[in-house]
Symmetry: C2
Subunit: 357 residues, 2 copies
DNA sequence: AAGCGAATTTGAATCGCTTCAAGGAATGAC
DNA sequence: GTCATTCCTTGAAGCGATTCAAATTCGCTT
């Protein structure tokens, strides 16, 4: 017997046999019922019901039809990152919005180890990837490229010109916010940045910054310094601190910064997350913001608008980035496209002219 | 020619032919390289590279191997809900934590219309579903059942005994928080609840509450009233308001409540989300919390601990619920399991004894 | 030189469905 | 009554891999 199938769940072929029609007809009953005559349609439906068959198994369809109708969002962070980090959440909002609109599913892909990552990317049931690159960008890109599916990098820290990406004008945004502070009259600054390396923290040289592959960080520093230079500030004396974006390393940086004889009157934080920690620290120390010190952020997460005081920051169109990235995958034509979206300076309560000395 | 394959991407069979080995061997090279002799392994790898073959296509594997290694999280809300709602986010943290630990992917499944829902559930590439049931529970359950895969409902509003579920002791939690208020000396209450129906809002009768299928809401009311009864309070006079959990309907309810000649001294809100809105409204009206009015929530989302004042509430082990739900899918044995987790009363700043009359 | 177990490799059978060219039946026009 | 049309249905060819019993090879022992 070529095809007996006792015990197991019914298959398309079983239904066809039971209803006395061909497999193709059964397939049509489920996928394009309108082209099947009513009589046959009913007969097939009844046979299906009798056999407990509830529709074609996606496994089979997949192999034949070829598309998963899903896009993967990949990162090297733990998956919970997508639900905790404000930036990632907004991004996912954009991604899900766009994918939902086109009837595409969303699959979260992650991995602790590089090996696992490679495996997960290799076997993800998706038609393309959005790469959420913070650290580990290179590993993600390598794996995705191997999978030979369209993918787009969120240029959050990486700028490989051979890769499609959606990003923002980091240099321009940083320049704008630094200019704003200069125009208010500030002349003494400190920059607190994100991680340039896996484990680093503490004061770093400008050379070190320039050498990092983490482009978002690098570009923001560049933008800051360009603006300061326009105002004749000795940029080589502006201290730059690297942190792990966590409370401990940010506090450490602040402690060093405010030990100085003439501490800065303005802090350029490279992300809102950092800026918010800075805000807290200063206020706990009895320093008023913006009275004693002005603070700026970068990103424009929702929290930046509701902090006390609300944060002057560079607002990224985060949701739009997510949408664009999704569309880039869905409309992929094999070409490499790099999109750079504009950012906007939001001047809020955390900046003011420096106190007269 | 049975198998020529010019132009298209290389397949396992092409690599096998090129390397002069059988398909099975190539498969082994990629999946269990340790059982293939080094020489053959290298030969196959080279052939693969030469053909631009980067590993077995998941589509094929799937059909043969049968498992997707992914679980779906389904809801009728828009997908962005998972990244915006605090409760959902915590839940997803638990779900992703557990699934990541077992090397399983997570796929988000949603749908605006019932029809789409049915289709998406039918064709989702997953081994099981976690049903995030708020509204639309029945449609979700029906679709999932049809798919004949294991699924577990998060008993957020539904209690169908024929369905596996992970839930909490709503009655007990509600009883505890209401008791707490009674012990503080409160005697006049109002209950503000979640939606009992798709569009309803406004004061509802107890009968109406008892008749709703939305069990979480019903059980919480029941718990509240049990406690009040213990303290000899005339429960039939306690006003119960239904809302859509949005600002407008909550404000409307509050307006009515505080129009009364002798307004309540304590508000039992059925969720933290509602309680936080209540907090705002009261304070805007110049009523102090807990001075003039005590307010309690339910759920224990992170925001409840940082509000001003922090909210007295019933804390659900939300992350744990997510973990359990995931494990229930992964370890499914076909049986129906209903788990009820304990909740904990968190007494914080939003409750105090009522002012002396 | 035969015998044996371990280590590799092979071959062929699925997995369950979609697709599409081609066949048939029914309807309508002339 | 014939010939087009239109509308359904059929049949068979893949889609790309995994699996496992059976065959082969190899290195040693006896």
């Amino acid at each position: 017997m070529a095809t007996a199938n006792f015990g197991k769940a019914a298959r398309l072929a079983d239904v066809a046999k039971a209803a006395g029609v061909s497999q193709g007809t059964v397939s049509n009953v489920f996928n394009r019922p309108e082209i099947v005559s009513e009589e046959v349609r009913e007969r097939v439906r009844e046979a299906a019901k009798a056999l407990g068959y509830s529709g074609p198994d996606p496994k089979g369809r997949l192999l034949r039809a070829g598309r998963f109708n899903a896009i993967g969002v990949a990162t090297v962070e733990p998956l919970s990152f997508f639900f905790e980090d404000p930036f990632a959440r907004l991004l996912m909002t954009g991604i899900t919005e766009a994918s939902e609109a086109s009837g595409t599913g969303v699959s979260l892909v992650s991995a602790a180890s590089e090996e696992e990552l490679a495996w997960n990317v290799r076997s993800a049931l998706v038609d393309g990837f959005i790469l959420f690159c913070l650290e580990g960008a290179q590993a993600l890109i390598t794996s995705s490229r191997e999978r030979q599916l369209p993918f787009v990098a969120l240029a959050l820290g990486h700028d490989d010109p051979t890769v499609s990406a959606v990003g923002i004008d980091n240099v321009g945004g940083a320049r704008a916010v630094a200019r704003h502070l200069c125009e208010l009259g500030h002349r003494r600054f400190a920059i607190i940045g994100m991680r340039l390396s896996r484990r680093g923290a503490g004061r770093v040289s400008l050379e070190r910054v320039k050498a990092t592959t983490y482009s978002a960080s690098r570009d923001r520093v560049q933008g800051y310094l360009e603006a300061l230079q326009e105002f004749g500030i000795a940029t080589e004396e502006v201290p730059i601190y690297e942190t792990q974006s966590d409370v401990a390393t940010i506090h450490a940086a602040l402690a060093e910064i405010f030990e100085a004889a003439t501490p800065p009157t303005a802090i350029l934080a490279q992300s809102d997350r950092i800026a918010l920690v800075v805000l807290d620290w200063l206020q706990q120390r009895g320093l008023s913001v913006p009275g004693d010190v002005s603070v700026t952020g970068f990103d424009g997460v929702p929290e930046s608008a509701t902090s006390v005081p609300p944060l002057t920051t560079v607002v990224q169109p985060i949701v739009e980035i997510g949408r664009r990235a999704t569309q880039a995958i869905l409309q992929d034509d094999g070409s490499i496209r790099r999109q750079t979206l504009e950012v906007e300076l939001a001047v809020r309560g955390s900046t003011a002219p420096p106190r007269r000395p």
